[in-house]
Symmetry: C2
């Protein structure tokens, strides 16, 4: 099969051996894969425990074409998405030490075929196109955990999604809109803010403009919850927009570690800083169920042909995308 | 009456007019007052909205000697402690904007008499000496909120009380021991650690010794909850000792704001940083009830005569105390 193989500093689309399903496994023919920041970080060598060569990719939509056991035959021919968790463990609230994400060191989805355990298969939501369904798994699950388990976002919650252009952020945005929260966004791009307003955002602020976030917060009574993956020195500005007892939920720190985080504002206002990463298998199932219930359509930035997959990575690196970057495999 | 009056940069024990109880108020003859860091910070000009001259002091134990209305006569002759909250408001989880702490701008407890609203009176726990009861109010309430409402500390919770010599920290320590938590402490003084072990601590670490906290955590499976008021650059070391989903509860930042707080460790381990300050009137009542139930004896550092009250402040400033610093008024 063809696969995009990451070697030291370079990708190569090459022919590798197609894997064979073993006990309790299925072979999936991949139609579409989606990229995550994780993939780009691994490409850049900025990730823990990198093992090369590697086939990256945590997200896929495809068709089951073989299984190891007859009693799993009912999966054959089904369109599926793949749960990207490997060995999350039994605790709903955190991953065990053995936890891995699909793709590096295990074979990922940027290949024509993949073998996964049967219990990683999930029927593709019927209402979605294949390329839309491929966008869901890792980012959707991460957003679900941050938004609902950590943020407890519900109808009428005032929630700010910062940097809404990101892959996880867009799902946090779509899910929050779906459940009837009052959703606000930040972005550095007016076009993204405008698009979010069309999709149901109450308002948006350009975070490159001084006081824009503060003024939006003030006009709306402050936020109950902020969903963030940037951290960095912008944290103090965001924290200042939270209501007393408000929650700053974060699943990344793309802008680095904050200097002089205003701990006094945090304790005086009884604020909560809640870390989150990925989600349990239960979160994955609940996320898919939520999508089915509200017919949530993932925002797709662009679909790249498989032989242009490196350009897809470059687009992720540039950070100008709004929505998921998809690779059409076959 | 005699009162310790703080003027610009100087205390003066002087004769001031004894206040008179108005509607729904009581006049309390103060037997003992206790100091809090807040008082020393106000003395040093390091507090918001300082109004001078001021009579400081948030804690007192005394006797009700007059009330404004006959239907409050049953209070007369009763030994009481005073709830130091003024206008906390209706929300159990945070104070309203009008909230004040007893003592600056209102008259505080470092005076022979004080007038407070009847609903601020609380019968002194019978099992305590007056000087012990005077130690309870502000610090006990603050510890109660941090430990139980924020930290959810229960029987068998692994809880670390950092800087256990402090006024609030000692109550967090005593309350955690009372409810059957597995309690660990840090201090810069071996004598304090030894005393805490006698009082029921599982173990203690000298935070000036490299890796002492880390090793203690490792030997005990990590902490579920840390109760801290230091913050500063030691935070990363403390956070690293938390179990996944562990809580870092803090009610102060005496060591300043942290540089380069390790947000990645926080989100990867689903940690929670929970700010807390003071407590509601309900917390005050629950704290007193807890003390009565478990017959908790506050740790007293030293009792100063009223005419040596400035020396009491100096002791607070030096930071070598273990337990509450008390001033005998009359």
């Amino acid at each position: 099969m063809n696969a995009l193989v990451l070697k030291t500093d370079t990708f190569q689309l090459e022919n590798v051996i197609t894997p064979t399903p073993q006990s309790n496994q299925a072979l999936v023919k991949i139609h579409y894969a989606a990229l995550n920041h994780r993939d780009q970080w691994i490409r850049d060598g900025q990730y823990a425990k990198i093992q090369l060569p590697a086939i990256l990719g945590s997200d896929a939509c495809g068709e089951v074409i073989a299984v190891a056991e007859q009693n799993n035959n009912h999966w054959i021919g089904k369109n599926v998405v793949i749960n990207p968790n490997i060995d999350w463990g039994n605790n709903l609230h955190f991953q065990q030490k053995e936890y891995q994400i699909l793709g590096m060191p295990s074979q990922g989805t940027l290949a024509e075929y993949i073998v996964v355990n049967i219990d990683r298969l999930c029927e593709k939501p019927n209402y979605l196109l294949d390329e839309q369904a491929a966008a869901l798994p890792l980012a959707g699950m991460t957003a679900y955990n941050a938004l609902f388990n950590k943020g407890n976002v519900q109808k009428h919650t005032n929630v700010l999604i910062s940097g809404v252009g990101g892959g996880v952020a867009q799902f946090a945005f779509l899910f929050a809109i779906a459940v009837g929260a009052n959703v606000f966004v930040t972005s550095s791009k007016q076009a993204v803010i405008d698009e979010c307003k069309k999709l149901g955002a109450q308002d948006g602020a350009n975070y490159t403009e001084k006081d824009a976030i503060k003024n939006m917060a003030k006009a709306n009574g402050g936020f109950d919850v902020i969903i963030d993956s940037a951290c960095g020195d912008g944290m103090n500005e965001l924290i200042a927009t939270l209501k007393p007892t408000g929650k700053f939920v974060f699943y990344g720190a793309t802008r680095g570690l904050p200097k002089d985080l205003n701990m006094r504002a945090i304790f005086w206002n009884h604020l909560q800083l809640l870390g989150s990463t990925m989600g349990s298998d239960t979160d994955f199932k609940n996320m898919i169920a939520l999508c089915n219930e509200y017919q949530i359509i993932p925002i797709i930035d662009k679909v790249f042909e498989f032989d242009k997959a490196v350009a897809a990575f470059d687009r992720m690196k540039d950070g100008n995308q709004f929505g998921k970057i998809i690779v059409k495999i076959q």
